[in-house]
């Protein structure tokens, strides 16, 4: 569904992405891991067209998407840190999004219900806490039933209960033949939801394998240890 070819991006002197090439298919849950500053978020932003790569190509469903915008109807995105217009109320935000995405008739409001978003409908987005904003952001990402979900450190600001709800939702969507990309640092969580792991290092692909293969290769039962072994070798 997605294919990235020879992607390069530099911010000033810093080479953030270095000839990155990778492919993802429908029905996959891929977890993107790597040290801080290894280019995870930049890769995601290039996919979304928020950041323009210096060179290289991104294809979604065999279509070149650089400088395009229609393809984004297939994508639900939950950013690492959600910035919302501060003076807008939660209700207005959802109304606006629904208004902009009139093309989608069937909405998935499960997370709105589970996270009790209705209760904060009349609050200003500026007055919400970080975790509450994450909940709003997660509900928005799933709302339009996208084929591709991109979640950038989704559980970072969420309480344990809310994380569980989100993980259950991810597993549920996986069964519906969607591609889900998750960037995360929490190994136990990755093990629960993901099938494959894409590890990035200094803007390059370090390895891209299934969890079972990683464990088999290293002979470790715990994913964290197995990955540590792979990286040092």
């Amino acid at each position: 569904m997605i294919s990235i070819k020879n992607l390069n991006k530099r911010y000033g002197k810093l080479q953030v992405l270095n000839n990155l090439s990778v492919e993802f298919e429908r029905g996959q849950v891929v977890s993107i891991i790597g040290p801080n500053g290894s280019g995870k978020t930049t890769t995601i932003k290039c996919l979304l067209g928020i950041v323009q790569p210096d060179s290289g190509e991104v294809y979604v469903d065999d279509e070149l998407v650089l400088k395009q915008w229609e393809y984004r109807r297939k994508i639900g995105y939950m950013p690492q840190i959600s910035h919302f217009p501060e003076n807008m109320k939660v209700r207005q935000l959802f109304d606006m999004m629904k208004d902009i995405r009139k093309d989608v008739s069937e909405l998935d409001e499960e997370l709105i219900g589970l996270y009790n978003i209705q209760k904060m409908y009349d609050k200003r987005l500026g007055s919400l806490s970080g975790g509450m904003k994450q909940k709003v952001s997660a509900s928005l990402a799933f709302l339009f039933q996208p084929d591709l979900l991109i979640l950038d450190e989704p559980t970072a600001g969420l309480d344990p209960l809310s994380s569980e709800i989100l993980k259950a939702k991810i597993l549920k969507e996986k069964k519906r033949d969607k591609l889900i990309l998750i960037s995360s640092h929490i190994m136990s969580e990755i093990e629960e939801v993901a099938d494959d792991i894409l590890c990035m290092m200094d803007g390059r692909l370090c390895f891209y394998r299934s969890i079972a293969a990683i464990k088999e290769e290293t002979g470790e039962a715990r994913l964290g240890k197995a990955i540590a072994k792979l990286i040092t070798y």
């Binding site: 323009q52 915008w69 984004r72 217009p85 003076n87």
Partner: protein
């Protein structure tokens, strides 16, 4: 496009700055017409204030608005919306609301009091035209300043510098050149220099409709010759249009290539 504009307008109307700007212009215009018996003179005084205030408010408000909309823009660029559309919606939202404020604040008093003499009536129409053009031009310049740097303080600084240049510095420079080279015929040159500053264009456009142009001597006669006929006015309007469109196009080009 209308959907995004709708939300930009909502956002602008929620803070009261545009309303305050309208009331300020309204009080000022009414005051001018009350103080001066001759509507032509009132239009003249109004012109000086408009040429100073409209560019300043437009450029500062638009710059601050652009930086404050950063979150809104970030939210929208991840949605299936063209970036160009987001940019133009932001621009039109700001420019239309400021233009409406100007029309209400200056246009209504002009209609009430300025229509008396035919000459000042014409000048009034030109004053409104110039003010509207200046609004669109300086909002475009503000957007250009905003996309050039991600730092809000730098962006506002750049916007202020642009205003300072066009309002004060430029005239000083032209005066200096005219003074040093006063032995040479500079009519054509001064006309060219005039085209390079939208505020001066606006000023001359209005001044020549009032009889004070006689005070401007030989150059004034040349201007009068050019700007009092239809071609001259068309020339000035096209130049003003270019002053709005070119910075806007440049800003759009930068914006659609920008990393957010």
């Amino acid at each position: 496009m209308d959907k995004v504009i709708k939300y930009v307008l909502y956002d602008i109307l929620r803070n009261r700055i545009v309303l305050g700007y309208t009331i300020f212009l309204l009080i000022m215009s009414l005051g001018m017409f009350q103080l001066e018996n001759d509507p032509a003179k009132a239009v003249l005084s109004l012109l000086n204030v408009v040429l100073l205030v409209v560019p300043l408010i437009s450029i500062i408000f638009a710059t601050i608005h652009f930086y404050n909309s950063q979150e809104f823009i970030e939210l929208l660029v991840a949605q299936p919306i063209n970036r160009q559309k987001i940019f133009y919606s932001e621009y039109l939202g700001v420019a239309i609301s400021l233009a409406t404020a100007f029309l209400t604040g200056v246009g209504v008093p002009l209609l009430l009091f300025g229509g008396g003499a035919i000459r000042s009536g014409a000048a009034g129409i030109y004053l409104i035209t110039a003010g509207l053009f200046l609004t669109f031009i300086f909002v475009a310049l503000a957007f250009l300043a905003s996309v050039l740097t991600s730092d809000k303080a730098k962006g506002i600084g750049l916007a202020l510098l642009l205003w300072f240049y066009f309002s004060l510095l430029y005239d000083g420079l032209v005066m200096m050149v005219l003074f040093y080279f006063s032995d040479y015929p500079l009519d054509k040159f001064s006309l060219a220099m005039l085209s390079l500053n939208p505020i001066d264009l606006g000023r001359v456009l209005v001044l020549l409709q009032i009889d004070v142009s006689a005070l401007m001597g030989y150059t004034g006669a040349l201007y009068k010759n050019l700007f009092s006929n239809f071609t001259g006015v068309l020339y000035a309007c096209l130049l003003m249009l270019a002053w709005a469109v070119l910075p806007l196009m440049l800003a759009k080009r930068i914006f659609i290539r920008k990393d957010l």
